[in-house]
Symmetry: C2
Subunit: 241 residues, 2 copies
Amino acid sequence: MSNTASNPSTPRAAAPPARARNRRSGSQLSPETIIEASLRIAARGSADAFTVRRLGEELGADPTAVYRHFRDKDDLLLEVADRTLGEVLDSIPEGLGWQDRIRALADGSLAVALKYPAVASAMASRTTRRANEFRVVELILGAVTEAGLTGAEAAVHYRMVGDSLLALVGQRAAYLLFSAEARAADEASWTREYRLVDPVAFPQITAVAEELAQVTQDGVYRARVEALITAIERRAAELAA
Amino acid sequence: MSNTASNPSTPRAAAPPARARNRRSGSQLSPETIIEASLRIAARGSADAFTVRRLGEELGADPTAVYRHFRDKDDLLLEVADRTLGEVLDSIPEGLGWQDRIRALADGSLAVALKYPAVASAMASRTTRRANEFRVVELILGAVTEAGLTGAEAAVHYRMVGDSLLALVGQRAAYLLFSAEARAADEASWTREYRLVDPVAFPQITAVAEELAQVTQDGVYRARVEALITAIERRAAELAA
DNA sequence: ACCTGAACACCGTTCAAGT
DNA sequence: ACCTGAACACCGTTCAAGT
């Protein structure tokens, strides 16, 4: 499956080049059109989906035209990532208790990360410092405050939740970007290699080899999200005592 | 600060090329010498420290010679990463209770990740499927079993701990690889931007802006590690009841 | 059996030249 | 004021040629 073939908006047989198709006739580029094009190519989901050259193709412009509107690719990435944070925020219902708000944030973040894996993977250790990030910080702080944490305790637990969720969905996104062979090798280790270890040297692995093979990504995800909630509950209870 | 200048083993003035210096006269490359050279360059800590071309320089050989001993760079990376896991395991003392074994694993992993940031950053979403990884799995499974979890519960909580620690130290390593400007921008957001938000739109941020600026990486690290331990304790208590 | 080095197909980015 | 396109300094990797 080639990249162009997997792009439904670029039929292979069409004679006129992609630039003629995508270019709004006579229109100029703008930060907005560039961000939208970035989201479209990032949503294609392959590891090399989000490159400056591919962005040029999508825009029907020379790749370097992007540098007239963004300082560099990182600047654009942060802007694009902040848009995806907007999608996450829009997916969170009103009226939930603090635990369910964190669960909804986690679920929404995962869905968006799997939709734009190249962006989520690149952002796993980053911060956008843009509008929607402030809204996410406000949301998490509201949750930990409602849980009963204040001041420095609220601050450090916000960071715990924020950094952990970023890492969690970033890992899932990165996994999606791996080649099929790499994913197969990874899965095979659980279903095959871990069942064949030396039982004397590795008694613990031997004892749960079957169960290790049956762990799902969703199960791990759930455990990691609940661990954050549990930790906040425990700390709030300690402080209340 | 140029890359060559920051490499203490390659004095700039020396007339004979680096290859003459590092090459053991008449010796051939081997997987072992390549892995050791990889660890040396990864320990230099810059983002581009671990490239095939730089590895060639370090070995005093043509970069492509590496492909005679490893299928590709990823294959070498997994081998190198497994060596660093060995360093982590060697750092864990005997005779600790399960909580302290997890804390020691986390501390050791962080230290090694900060020593070889390019490796830790690349491994954040990976699995080595090699000897030392089995030992780490055995260690974590031993801890969660001692905590009182069995079967599927032990398996999923092992994955929770393993994936979380990998992500945590990977994030710290990636942060170390950022350019000085990127790190400065990141830190400035906490010490400056978060103190200037609109108090009406962002009451929670306003309330703890001071404390947010004072959160340290070590504080977040501690909270994230303790959250894992707390979650295991809680689950074990639920199952015992 | 292993190493070399040219070459390929990529990256992000700069800059002089166009309009 | 904005876009183009050649060019630069990188990547990982392949392959024919050397020894």
